[in-house]
Structure formats: structure tokens, C-alpha cells
């Protein structure tokens, strides 16, 4: 009986170790460190690193701030709270690729209604031609989808804060702003940090669908984030070694991020 149960996880683990083994095999056995050297020396790759950094930071900030604001507001509301919560939850279920399509439609230079409204206001946007504008569009689409996730976690965090603390501060004469910044916000810090890591990981990986749908990394690699480059170089460009080397670098980044996250979780468990 024990053997049967042992067999499952062992088999699963074996399967996965093969998969990982291959990634390292491709990168190390055939070419040594050459792939890494050529990848890291490639100006296009470095540009992609920069784009990814801007992209994921912007997405994290734009998804976290509204999420927090809405959660604080939803925490105050009594009537209709369930309704707000349900609707704000919906984008979580939307595929990143579909979110990309929705925003693409709003900003499309020929048919998009937001693009038309902006043009009337004298702002002519064209994400097909202008790199920074394209980046802005994918950031908006990516952040839009992630707001509900952050909202949910912030709301749970807020509701876990004992009301007595806030009331004690109110009795001591602290105004609403002071109460928020001195008591509520510091208590939310752990969850904010957790969400920051989650959002960055999201921006790194799950946004592939948005990029592929909306801009295909263009114009002129302005929105080519690292995951997209791994896919493009490997599948379209057929540079398997380079692509695998990029995979390994990405893997190192994820492991670093996850390690930071677990460190922090441990610490939090420790302090109760």
C-alpha cells in the first residue's frame, strides 16, 4: 500500500526532473557557457531585460495601488459589499490574452473608441508605430487583469486587522489619514510585499498572451519582454541553445524571487 503511494509522487518527480535535466543538458552539454556569453553580450537581450524591468514594475504598481484603494473602500462599505466584491473579482477569470484583445480593441487606431476620444482631445495614439505607447497599452491590459487578485488579498488582509486597534487610535484622537498610514498600512506591509512578488512573477510570465496578441514584441522590440524573447528565439528563430540559456537565466530569476518570498513567509510565521 505504501508502495503505491510512494510510486505516484516519485513518478511525478522523475518526470519533472527529466524536463529540467533537459533544459540544463541543452544549455551545458553541447555548448558550455558559450550560449550564456552570447546571450548576455547581445544588446537586444539587454534591451529586453530593460523592457521587462520597466514593464513588470509598472504593472505591479498600477495593479497594486488601485487594488489597495478599492479594498480600503470596500472594507468601509456595508451595503452592497458582496455585489462590489463579485464584480471586482471578475477580471481574475479573464485570460491575459483575452484582456489584451479587449484593450487592443479600445485603443486600435482605426476602430477603438478610446483612441477616437483621445484623438478628439488632441492626443494621437498609435501603438502600432510608437514603442512607448505600445508598452503603455500592454501595461494597462496586464494591470487591469491583476487588480482583482490584489483587491481580494488586500481586502482579506484588511478584514484580519482587529477593529479594536483602529478604534483605540480613534479614541486617542488620530484622524482617518493618520489611522490609515500609522496603523492599517504597516499591518498590511507583509501582504503588500507578498503581492509585490506575485505581481512581478505574473508580469514576467503570465503576460505572454497579452504581448503576443497585442504587439508581438514590437514595434522594434519595444515590448519584447524576456519570456516573449525565449519563445521567439526558440520557436520562431530556432536558436535552441540561446533560447535554453535564456530559459535558465529566467529560471534563476524565478528561483531568486521565490526564495525571497519564502524567506519572508518564514519570518512572518516566526513572529506570528
Amino acid at each position: 500500500m505504501t508502495f503505491v503511494f510512494f510510486f505516484w509522487p516519485a513518478g511525478q518527480a522523475a518526470l519533472q526532473s527529466v524536463q529540467r535535466g533537459d533544459a540544463f543538458g541543452l544549455a551545458t552539454r553541447f555548448a558550455g557557457l558559450e550560449n550564456f556569453a552570447s546571450v548576455l553580450g547581445d544588446p537586444l537581450y539587454l534591451a529586453s531585460v530593460e523592457v521587462t524591468a520597466v514593464f513588470s514594475l509598472a504593472v505591479a504598481v498600477l495593479a497594486l495601488a488601485p487594488g489597495l484603494l478599492l479594498a480600503v473602500m470596500a472594507d468601509k462599505v456595508v451595503r452592497g459589499a458582496a455585489f462590489y466584491k463579485t464584480v471586482l473579482l471578475l477580471p481574475y477569470a479573464v485570460a491575459p490574452a483575452i484582456a489584451g484583445v479587449l484593450w487592443l480593441f479600445l485603443f486600435n487606431p482605426s476602430v477603438g473608441i478610446v483612441a477616437a476620444a483621445l484623438r478628439r482631445a488632441g492626443i494621437d495614439l498609435n501603438y502600432l508605430l510608437n514603442g512607448p505607447e505600445a508598452l503603455l497599452l500592454v501595461i494597462l491590459a496586464a494591470a487591469w487583469k491583476q487588480i482583482s487578485y490584489n483587491f481580494l488579498f488586500f481586502l482579506a488582509g484588511l478584514q484580519a486587522i482587529p477593529k479594536t486597534l483602529v478604534e483605540a487610535a480613534a479614541i486617542d484622537g488620530a484622524g482617518p489619514h493618520r489611522r490609515f498610514w500609522r496603523i492599517v498600512f504597516p499591518l498590511l506591509a507583509p501582504i503588500s510585499f507578498f503581492l509585490l512578488v506575485v505581481n512581478i512573477v505574473y508580469a514576467f510570465f503570465d503576460t505572454f498572451g497579452i504581448i503576443h496578441n497585442v504587439t508581438q514584441g514590437g514595434p522594434a522590440q519595444a515590448t519584447e519582454i524576456l519570456v516573449y524573447k525565449v519563445w521567439y528565439d526558440g520557436v520562431v528563430g530556432l536558436d535552441l541553445g540561446g533560447s535554453a540559456a535564456q530559459s535558465v537565466i529566467l529560471m534563476a530569476i524565478v528561483i531568486a524571487l521565490t526564495a525571497i518570498q519564502f524567506r519572508f513567509i518564514e519570518r512572518r510565521v516566526h513572529y506570528g
Partner: protein
Amino acid sequence: MVNVTRNAWIPHAVLLLGLALVLFPVYVAFVASTLTLRDILDAPMTLVPGPNLLANYREALALGTAGTNGQPVGAMMLNSLVMALAIAIGKIAISLPSAYAVTFFRFPLRRVCFWAIFVTLMLPVEVRIIPTYKIAADLGLIDTYPGLALPLIASATATLLFRQFFLTIPDELVEAAKLDGAGPWRFLIHMVIPLSRTNIAALFVILFIYGWNQYLWPLLVTNTPAMTTIVVGIRQMIGNGDAQTAWHLVMATALLALLPPIAVVGLMQRWFVKGLIEPEK
């Protein structure tokens, strides 16, 4: 004590603004899916729904567009559904017993197994696409349902979540079952599975959405239009300048792609929220 009555309208106003921001893109897509292509191209389009709702959806579901080689959206939805269900059910079916084994049994290499499972958590599919693709190709899984689902089943998130839940089952319960003469199978079926029913439901929702929304892997592993999932297929409908994009059908498809995961979340919201937040806290 904390004054809530004064300025009570502010939270509502902010929340309504948030709702508008969340719903606006979806609403525009909905309106577009009820218009004719001519109405949409006559920019800026109206924000009042038109009369072509049923006609557009029927056309998209049954006929598809030129960009998808006439592959109807209905068939893509079926592919998505099969893939999402296979991933959700498969993952639960594998991770439940393996979490059970890691938690309740002592066998040699138990820690090694646990860590082997744990490490895979850190590596999303996107990172190991190329090697995984090679394996799938070697096994002849390209353009098949198993090819779509299997590589996504093989990851450990669910195992870890189940383990965390199993750890909360008190030892007394295990011992009581043992005293009553229940073997490991009986304990699993009569105690552990009923106890974890909510967790299974929550996990099902999360995994269903995860499976339905997969993009990169289906894009790689399917080559024939007949196997495309809806989330991937919509890309091919948006023209790249050579052909006029059938926006009304694209938007109808986008809404069709939104609907199943939203329905699942809406119907199972209670368990889903619990399942999403609790394991990560």
C-alpha cells in the same frame, strides 16, 4: 467609535469608479459583438447595443472567420473545455494521493520526494517550454489532447496545497481510525476526502481557470486549426493589415472565451475565494 456615517458616499463613489474601470472594456466588447462590422468601422462606434447579437454569435460559433481557416469557434471552445477539465481533474487526481502519501506515510526518501515536488513549484511552464516541447514531440503528443493537458498537469502547486491542508488533520483522528481497524485506503476514502471537499472544490475552480486561460503551451503544441483552443484562436482572427479584421466576430469570440471561467468563478465564488487566499496566507 470610528466615524463611518460622515462622507459615507466616498467609498461608494470610488467603488463605482472601480467597477466602471473593470467593466468598461468588457461592455465595449459586448456592444461591438452586437453590431455589424460596418457600424464598428464607422468610428467612433456607438455605445448602445445593436440588433445583431444572435446573428453574430451564431456566425462565430458555427462558421468562424477567414483568419482561422474556417475553424468554428464552437469547436475551439470544446477544445478549451476538454483541456481545462483534463487539467483540473488530472491535477487533483494526482496530487491528492501524492500529498496523502507525503503527509501520512513514512517511507525512505520521503523528504527527497517532497522536495522534488516542491522544486517544480518554482518553475512555471513558460520557463521550461523548449525542453517540454521536445519531450512532447518525442512522445508524439503534438496536436493531441494529452499533449495539451499532460505537461500542465505535471506540476506541484496542488500537491503542496493538499499537503498543507492534510497537516491540519489532527493526529487523534488518524489514531482513532486506526483503532477502529481502518486501513490507509479506508482512511483516505472515508475521512480525508470528505474532509477536504471544500478544498477540492476551490482547487477545481482555480485549476479550471488556469487551464482555460493557458496560452503559450497550446500555441506551441497545436499546429492544426482543429486543435486550437479559443484563447489562442482569437489571435488568428485579428488581421495584420492584409485582411479586414471581422471585429464584430472577434469581440463575440472574446466574450465567449470569457464566459465559462467567469461562470465558474461566479457560481463557486465562496469556495474559490477561500481556496485562493487561505493556502497562501
